[in-house]
Amino acid sequence: MNKYLSIFKISFAQEFAYRLNFILWRARNVMNILVTFFLWSTVFSDPSRSLFGYDRAKILTYVFGVMILRALVLSARAVDVSREISNGDILNLLVRPINYFKYWFTRDIASKALNLGFAAVEFAILYLILRPAFYFQTNIGFLFGFSLMVFLAVFIFFCLLFIVNMIPFWAPNMGWGAQFLIIVVIVEFLSGAIFPIDILPGAVQNFLYATPFPYLVFVPIQVYLGKVSTAFIVKGVLISLFWSVALWIAMNNLWKKGLKAYEGVGK
């Protein structure tokens, strides 16, 4: 365990290595929050307007929920894995007695913790200044369901990301393209990070609910907003669990096959 605590610490130190860079990154984050806030405040300037079942308070909460879940679920350090594989840096870790998945998961967690810590402070300050109409969930059941789903979402996204990042084992030059297509385009769209999924036609929604994507962002936020039934939450948790296990197994198998196929010629 000590090993992974050390990895956590050094990852943290690494994030702070460039202070100016760090400050600019946080400043960009604050700008993002402000732009989003004013955009949606203007769209829903009439407090009684409601679109697709979202009123002003709920759409703002949705949008800010997306921001937080993006920091928590969709941000990860493991995007570097494909580069490590194609340039051979991975070899340095493979000759040391650590578990490669746990190594990257720890680095992810470190990055998420940092992200979330700062985001929470910025958010609190902005909240006090802007006083937006937010929807605060007070029901313990919904909050518990939300936490559980976020926890599973972090894990599902890690597996998905890792699987995509293993492509360079077979095709060394495909790493970036595959990552862009699958992680940036598909995951962003289908997870609800860009727009709420419930504005899509019913048939499409039903199909999506069988995939792991909506459980990364959209479903957890719906649970937080209390827009769903208990049965829906239970079903959602079960589907998330199914995908967690399935993707974990797939990731492990691909890893074993990938290492065997890995050539690292001249690296």
Binding site: N2, K3, L5, S6, I7, I10, A13, Q14, A17, Y18, G88, D89, L91, N92, L93, L94, V95, R96, P97, I98, A171, L259, K260, Y262, E263, G264, V265, G266
Partner: protein
């Protein structure tokens, strides 16, 4: 355990996708990738005793790095048997990994933006080295390499020579029993090279570690290795003492004669290849088997004051190894 490393009929084939240059080439290879089979290792066998320091030499692409990677569990052998410290490297068991280290001159494990001490601390945790042992090992290595003042400087601010010494420190904190060095002195200046060599020598002597190193640096081989394995095109051409390399591959010997006058110096060509004339000294190279005949002819027909018969310098042989000139011999 009387064998630290056993390699038996090791074969490794790669499949490489050929790519033509330019955009059209990239598109073509996307739709119909041209695969090329590379036979990196064609059944090599050798064993290494604990505490030996062995040099791997051969031209680029001979299979040296492939062998080291297979021995450290990074590549899966196509066929054949490999055993290091009685483990199958491919399993990469933690107990095995804790006893080996692979140092690649062109790869770094140090965290670029942080002081090297952070990486050392991380390795302490990864290799589960007890705190006291770690402090002792670190002090010992740091003193040997003279890097005490640099360990709290961010790695990106170090020179290449300083960085390589840090890399070495990071790789040795857990006192590996088996060490693989891939081009440890590449890109270093002469003084840094010497420091690196002294250290490898000391480490081998002090801890009885088994070491394999690959290098294109003549001095590394001549100064460090008593045994060398010459490998070319995936086959072992020679495995034995460095001194025997000359006997095996040098087809000529060198005769150096001091002459009292120039006389019929042009006739020297009849005896052997004239390498150098700087009166009164002439240097000839003659076929190995004809050395005695050549020497006696020289004595009979020329005003010889002094005569020495020498082997071709080992450097010349190694240079020929690197150029791939020993193939098929």
């Amino acid at each position: 355990m009387d064998r630290a490393i056993i390699v038996d009929r090791l074969v490794k084939n790669f499949e490489v996708t050929q790519k033509e240059p330019g955009f059209t080439g990239a598109v073509k290879s996307l739709f119909s990738p041209k695969k090329k089979h590379v036979h990196a290792l064609k059944g090599i066998s050798f064993t290494i005793q604990p505490g030996e320091l062995v040099g791997f030499i051969g031209p680029n692409g001979a299979g040296k790095t492939t062998t080291l990677k297979t021995l450290s569990g990074l590549l899966y052998p196509t066929s054949g048997f490999v055993e290091v410290l009685e483990y199958d490297p491919w399993d990469r068991k933690p107990e095995f990994l804790k006893q080996i280290a692979l140092v690649m001159g062109q790869k770094n494990q140090l965290w670029w933006d942080l002081p090297a001490s952070e990486t050392f601390e991380l390795n302490r945790a990864i290799y589960e080295i007890p705190r006291r042992e770690y402090e002792e090992n670190l002090k010992e290595i740091v003193d040997l390499l003279e890097i005490g003042k640099l360990i709290s400087t961010p790695v990106r601010k170090l020179s290449l020579g300083q960085r390589m010494r840090m890399e070495l420190t990071a790789a040795l904190l857990h006192k590996p029993k088996v060490l693989f060095f891939d081009e440890p002195t590449i890109g270093l200046d002469l003084i840094a090279q010497q420091k690196m060599r002294d250290f490898i020598y000391e480490y081998n002597k002090k801890f009885g570690a088994t070491i394999i190193l690959t290098s294109h640096n003549m001095d590394d081989l001549v100064n460090l290795c008593r045994r060398v394995i010459v490998i070319d095109e995936g086959r072992i051409l020679f495995d034995g003492a460095l001194d025997e390399l000359t006997e095996k591959f040098a087809k000529e010997k060198i005769i150096k004669a001091t002459l009292s006058n120039e006389g019929n110096i042009a006739d020297l060509e009849k005896i052997g290849k004239v390498k150098k004339v700087s009166m009164p000294l002439v240097t000839l190279s003659v076929p190995r088997s004809a050395t005695a005949v050549a020497a006696s002819e020289l004595l009979q027909n020329f005003p010889v004051e002094d005569l020495i018969i020498e082997e071709i310098p080992i450097e010349d042989i190694i240079r020929r190894v690197f150029r791939g000139e020993l193939r098929g011999k």
